[in-house]
Symmetry: C2
């Protein structure tokens, strides 16, 4: 009898799994349910679509339902899975078109519901109209429509990746942007203070009114958001964008009895198996093993979702794949300032039992004498006793962010800081100094 | 008694050694002889100085003789070492100021004479005035003066790094540039054919009249070069730039009896010791061990010279350093086309006993939908049996070249192609796709 894979959630992890399972098992029946209007889209491109840097929503869609149909993958948009019955191995699916509910059985279940923007109810008014988060393409369309309406002032809550990227496009549209974060600097969850200060500078340089160390208490307004209220200040706003991080979408899993891990996301092994036979999970709603701390983490990034989804699909397809873990590598930019990070922060390294030492190098993105030279700072964190690379952060001008990949690759492979200082990296005046700043920071960390 | 280190040749390798020896051994007497007008300069910046992209020659000088004097390193410009007497442990030094010659003894000798542009005498007229090479800052000044004089047409002989970089700046000055190379494509010594063709396109895109597979037979002209003669064509030229590669400057060493290796450069061990006690060597005139082929190679790049010079200086300073070898990583750009390469070419891999397989990936420098997306191609060469990375090449638009460092780092650390396909690299739409082209090329090579 034909086995059936049912995918819950049609973005990166779910559709990667579906595609890979299809490649390996042509006979498998595959049905994917997505409650929104799109599958397989670039969530990371949404701020840029909202701000008009990317023109068409089609640009963000990797594959349409029609393209999946051609691969014999049955995608059902506007269909929300509302219950999972593990005992009967059956789902209840609600159609958003007619409100009807129907059951569907599965042999394999791929749980890939992703995450949603955190909306802490401790902030009064957080659910008012005019308070927008950014997760799905539908969210991006709503944000774009609001930006393009007659607004002047925007308050961005939070200084994470989404907050930074949205702030940049808002400024580019000529809007007045206030950003408020409770952290001492933007990207506080992923950057150490030295580098976070540099990121703050980048945010301020593009004209954002950045307030750090400030808590938002409420959203002002009755029918619609008209501003935000903080401990000591009030900021008027025609639009409030929340960028307070994400939370994994695990309600369905929890109700069904699929075991969650300590992070609150679904616990999985390195084959992306949950604690329930035949139920798989990957992406923003799943945990992953951090290669440096050895701990389970929940990292809501498309890179992880695509890779882990592919692993799940390989295994569903009777192949054999193991997810090798994450480093938490992430990059972004705000204006001319590029930011890259990987591995553990200093504090996280201590919690993981290491004795971290820091190597800092300040220089330029190119040879110092090159006309386009911009400042660049590299921070390398290594373990005192053996020089093991634990983390790295880069903030600088054009060309800085992707250089974090060198540090991620070295860390991945267990290259020590002292060895990294000698790796044969490329050099030409438009691209770096003859000693790359990575060499210099690694050498200082190794001392 | 105070020991004396004498350095022959005052650029990257020699002055790195001098500086490092000084740091470690404050009591050492250090004298550096340089026959030219400058020490410690960026040879790689010379094309850009010649073309006016870098304004002042001072920009290319990392440290002046005065700065070295402040470090208690005695730099003597316009002094050429004309003989080395290993038995007496003494040099003969000629002053270019007054022509006088004088002897000087040494305890340690750092041989760092570098390389010179190849001027094959098989090309008639190769030594005519108006035929310029580029090695020293004095050469760069001469080239700049000629470019800024009333000339229109330039012939560039050879399609190596220097040739490409000079061609770019010449085009930028509005000159008509013809480039002739005997190779089927530019950078033939370092790129495989598929990638070389892409590099050819980049050269042609900026308006260079590129002729591949064509041999130059002679330089036309009597008092001064007026053109070049090839097998079937003649090209008029007011200036001829030779970029036919470099040859190590080993005459002094050969005459003195310092053993040369199979490449023609000075043989050294991984401490940069030559075959003669107390005589050290690094840089363009020295060999180095290739980490993938295991063979001795002669790579004339500033990256290698700085690192190997530092190793020599550490050991001269009674420290303990070993040079870990090279991958031959090199990057450049011509117009908007960036080029990076590392490791072995396919043919070299076969010669070294591997069974190379190729993974190619064509995509874009950013997310495909990003407004600034430009084409980028990545080639990964791996060993069939175990997936060991053997080489990699990248050609593409802005941001492409330095991505070779990820491949160099993975290769350095022994990461296999199949593992590289999973490394946690950074992603954001302005910088790459969610699967980096490096992942895709590595995965294809691993199959």
């Amino acid at each position: 009898m034909t086995e059936r894979l049912v995918v819950v959630g049609g973005d990166a992890a779910g559709m990667s799994a579906a595609s890979q399972a299809r490649r390996l098992r042509p006979g498998l029946e595959i049905i994917a349910f997505e409650r929104g209007s799109h599958v397989s889209y670039s969530a990371c491109g949404e701020p840029y679509f909202a701000g008009g840097l990317v023109d068409s929503i089609d640009d963000l869609i990797a594959r349409t339902p029609e393209q999946f149909a051609a691969m014999d993958i049955d995608v059902r948009l506007h269909h929300e899975v509302v219950e999972i019955d593990l005992y009967r191995r059956s789902l209840t699916v609600r159609s958003h078109e007619d409100g009807s509910e129907s059951p569907i059985g599965f042999d394999h279940l791929m749980y890939a519901t992703g995450s949603k923007p955190a909306r802490p109810d401790s902030i009064e008014g957080i659910r008012l109209p005019g308070v927008l988060g950014l997760r799905t393409l539908d969210d991006a369309v709503a944000l774009r429509d609001t930006i393009d309406s007659d607004i002047k002032r925007v308050a961005v809550l939070g200084g994470g990746y989404i907050g930074l990227e949205v702030a940049e496009v808002l400024v580019g549209k000529g809007l007045l942007v206030t950003m408020v974060t409770s952290g001492q600097h933007v990207l506080e969850r992923t950057l150490d203070a030295e580098m976070g200060e540099l990121a703050n500078n980048g945010v301020r340089e593009i004209g954002v009114d950045l307030h750090t160390g400030m808590r938002v208490r409420c959203i002002r307004g009755t029918d619609r958001a008209t501003g935000i209220g903080c401990e000591e200040e009030e900021f008027p706003a025609d639009l409030v964008v929340i960028g307070l991080g994400t939370v994994p979408e695990v309600e369905l899993a929890r109700e069904a009895g699929i075991p969650l891990g300590g992070t609150g996301a679904v616990a999985v092994d390195d084959r992306q198996r949950t604690g329930v036979e035949g139920v798989w999970c990957a992406g923003d709603c799943a945990e992953a093993t951090h290669r440096i701390s050895g701990r389970q983490v929940n990292i809501a990034l498309g890179t992880v979702a695509n890779k882990a989804g592919r692993v799940a699909g390989t295994n569903i397809g009777n192949g054999d794949a193991r997810f090798p873990g994450v480093l938490g590598t992430a990059i972004t930019r705000v204006g001319r300032t590029e930011i890259g990070r990987t591995g553990l922060k200093v504090h996280e390294a201590r919690l993981a039992g290491y004795d971290p030492v820091i190597g800092m190098a300040t220089g330029t993105t190119t040879a110092g004498y090159w006309p386009e030279a911009e400042r660049m700072d590299v921070m390398v964190i290594a373990n005192r006793s053996d020089g093991r690379l634990l983390g790295a952060q880069i903030v600088g001008g054009r060309g800085s962010a992707k250089k974090i990949d060198v540090l991620a690759t070295a860390m991945w492979a267990g290259v020590s800081a002292s060895e990294l200082a000698w790796v044969d990296l490329g050099y030409a005046p438009p691209f770096s100094g003859v000693w790359d700043l990575i060499h210099i920071a690694a050498r200082r960390a190794a001392r």
